[in-house]
Amino acid sequence: MKLTAWRAALRIARRDALRAKGRSALVIAMIAIPVLGVAAADVTYRSSELTVQERATRTMGTADAFVQIGSQAGWRVEQAPNPFGGATYTPADGGNSPSPTALEKSRAAEPLARLLQQALPAGARLLPLEQARLLPTSTANGVLPALIQGFDLADPLTHGMVDLDQGRWPTGPGQVAASTAFLKDSGLRIGRTTTPAGTSTPLTITAAVEFPGDLNDDQLVLWPTDLATVLAAQNTGTTGPAQPAGPPMGWLLAMPGHSGFSWDDVLKANQWGFVITSRAVLQDPPPDSAVPLDQDPGYHNLGRSSDPVATAVLATVVGMALLEIVLLAGPAFAVGARRSRRQLGLIAAGGGDRAHIRAVVLGSGVVLGLTGAVTGIVVGAIAVALGRGELESLSGARFGGYSLRPVDLLGIMLVGLVTGLLAAVVPAVQASRQDVMTSLTGRGIVKAPPAWLTVLGALAVAGGTAVALLGVGTGRGSMFILGGSILAELGAVACTPFLVGLFGRLGRLLPLGPRLALRDSTRNRGRTAPAVAAVMAAVAGAVAVSVYQSSSDTASRAQYQPSGAIGSVMLQYQSSDTPARMAAEAGAVQNSADLGPRGDLDRLYYQHDCDAPDMATCGTVTVAFPAALHCPGSANGSAQGTPVTGVQVLNKACASTMLNVGALDGENVIATGPAALPALLGGGLDPSAGQALAAGTALVTDPSLVTDGRVTLNLRLTDGTGGASPARTTTVSLPALVVNRPSAPVQAVLSPAAAVRAGLRTAPMAAVWLPSGASTAPSSSAWPPPSAGCPARPRCRWSADTRAPTVRSRSAWR
């Protein structure tokens, strides 16, 4: 077909689009909206992407390099020219079994200052950036954990790492710069003071600052000597002697006259165990051949993996979304082609052949696709520009700049264009095959869909489903899943005329309005089919998602374990806390509100304390499951480390074998006195339970764990690497009383005396209270977390850790 013919076709398509404004707007919107989303995402991503220099400035201010210790000072490291991505490798550390050379061992013993002196070029100035610590600090209303750092913000080397929003830089001890997020969260202002935990000197806030890479973090920048005081106070609070503060996080390095830190200097520093981020090297990276890391097979063997499931899901979602648009926009083009049937007939009568007719209909795909794509891109780009501030605080980092990448946007535009074109293909072919006289006279015949089409469609549905399931089964077939889904949906499109025809027979039963609509749909199956298939696929997708959602919801509910009764208050100690500190903490909580009598919970261990700092061996205590209660699919009853299936989640025999974090630090059996029982198990307990506990009987919350009135505890010694030594596994049997509390936080409770008599040891774990005003309902469903940070908000959602269930607090609803 000649180019001028295309031009004529496009002219007709363009004018038609303008004449049928409503239909054009519909198609343009269908194409523009997804394009808008993608374009906005692209512009946001590209704008948030930093140039290496911008990143360098955020990390090292105006310094020439940022010096960090590799895995161990003195051990040789290999690094990428740009170590931002974490591309470093310590040969000595290679296979997780450290094997440093003699030289490296002797170097590691040397003081850090000497190592630095040898590793770095002469004359370099170093400004240490101390380790940041997350520490509680006082606020207008209480305390707030804040990331506390210490360096001189007035030093020119740090310029660019932190932006001054208001106020003036701290100039000496006693002054502090606070992030705007901290000021907002703490309710403090410039001029007010904050006191980090453990210290008594208030620090005056002189500056509101912004970390361009961490807009939302609560951060404080202390004067370096103030940070030292704070860290020292932290270290004296714990058991044992005060520990040194540890090496700094890194150093800002300035070469004499800012002459730059060369790649050779980097390689030399690597020999001594330092990883260098050098501005000069970032600017002008060395060739791969000069980078030992790129040559080291040990590093490459570590392998880098991407998540195949995420890729599969993404590819399927994007591919199916495109197909949906094609299927939904297709009927609009089909309607357009039908409406302009006489016009197409006139073109044919005037000498247009099939290609010309196709070109006119395809031309409307091009026109609308292009308009939709351009509209989407323009609106998306403008939206990002307008919402930049919001997006930055949402992502927590300032953009490097507003960046439009022509290649990206051109690609997105092409996708929009192709979508429009694809949607117009079938109507174009249909229109071009239309007989000229039929087009001109408007005579039309409703043909039954050919049987082969329906059969082919059914086969495609079956085959596509099979292919997609194959992709799911192998777990790494994103193309299978996408291809299968598309094949199945196109098969559904092919079947739909037949199905619509079947439905058409029901028309007789319907009142006039629906009957007309149904007849119209059956008469125009060509354009009904894709729309029906698109709705079908969308519904199928929604059903799949909601089934998944409700399944995982059910699993979460089944896995949920409360930590205590509704309304109870719990203070959990750090295992490193001294008894004096525990007492002080418990006293502080006791005095802060009218909580009623306190109960104490002890954790149990067998011979060796698992929470001791130098945990060489560890003796765990668990409740033994009767042999009849076996977790299916787990060898020797232990499913730990293997994937958890739905069956296992709902089977309580598996509960003890699964990683059980959340409720009471994962302890299944604890020691406590009768006083703590209401707070732990909920009110309404038979008083005899407390008496039995005091008398040395174990209280068991799950009847299936008790055989012949006794419960068995497994005592297991494991070595430091987590492996069990079977020879040192033993059991003890105790008299047991069942208190039926199916969703109690623990499976069994002993009195401390009974625990000791059974050969176990105890250590304080927590204090609990049940305030008299609190509901005394049994801890059957849910309870608000003691310090999850949202008790005041209605319907607050919380999650103790990623594995713990997310449950709405019932008491908070009322």
């Binding site: 006139l346 073109i347 052949d353």
Partner: protein, 242 residues
């Protein structure tokens, strides 16, 4: 220019079989203006669609400028329609999305002529018809008579020498109809050939020759002079005088 040799056209099958044309012979020479008359359903439109290559004959031959249409591929047939034959229907002849000049130049552009040349030809064709001032108007900004004249211009653009007009004046008042016929007459005098279906004897009087169809059969042919005498007392559908 145009020759039909024992052309028949059967629509449908079995009980629904309709013989729209039965063994029709007709020859139209360059410069000749032929009117086709006959009652409704007699096969007039069918005759024109077969002559114009829009439909194919069940039997017989249709020859346009020496080319037998039945032997052509679909593509070649479209090319013949593009280059040799122009169609004028009763109404809605023009593509609403295009201006008069664009409508006229469309067959030439589809044929691959550059936009500028096609427009020049279109303007010349409009000029010949005497409606140059309509060039940049859209169809809905024109009267019915103007639209028909533009359609005639389109039917004769480029090398086209054969106009097939199916009741071109049917939707016009009589004065406007006369003006349109005058245009057709003028083009035939300038060397084109025209076949026109009409119900009105007065309009048929513009033709060199009138042919009559009844039940798909060519029943009579009369020269212009005899036609004038013949139609002195005919009914509106042209049947009364036979």
């Amino acid at each position: 220019m145009l020759r039909l040799a024992s052309v028949s056209r059967v629509h449908g099958q079995g009980a629904a079989e309709v013989h729209a044309l039965r063994s029709v012979d007709l020859e139209v020479r360059p410069g000749e203006f032929v009117a086709v008359m006959g009652p409704s359903g007699s096969g007039k439109s069918t005759l024109l669609t077969l002559a114009g290559g829009l439909d194919s004959a069940s039997s017989g031959q249709v020859v346009v400028e020496g080319t037998e249409l039945g032997a052509l591929s679909r593509k070649a047939l479209a090319a013949v329609r593009r280059r040799s034959i122009g169609y004028v229907f009763q109404d809605f002849n023009l593509i609403p999305a295009l201006t008069a000049a664009e409508n006229v130049s469309l067959p030439r552009e589809l044929d691959g002529l550059s936009g500028r040349k096609a427009r020049a030809e279109a303007l010349a064709a409009l000029e010949e018809i005497g409606v140059a001032e309509l060039a940049d108007r859209f169809p809905d900004e024109m009267s019915g008579g103007q639209q028909q004249r533009v359609a005639i211009a389109r039917a004769l653009i480029g090398d086209r020498r054969l106009v097939l007009a199916d009741e071109p004046t049917g939707a016009l008042d009589s004065a406007t109809g006369e003006a349109v016929l005058a245009v057709l007459r003028g083009r035939c005098d300038a060397g084109a050939a025209a076949v026109m279906v009409t119900h009105e004897a007065r309009h048929a009087a513009w033709a060199d020759r009138v042919v009559f169809l009844r039940d798909g059969r060519l029943v009579d042919e009369s020269a212009r002079s005899s036609a004038e005498t013949l139609f002195s007392g005919v009914g509106p559908d042209g049947t009364g005088g036979l």
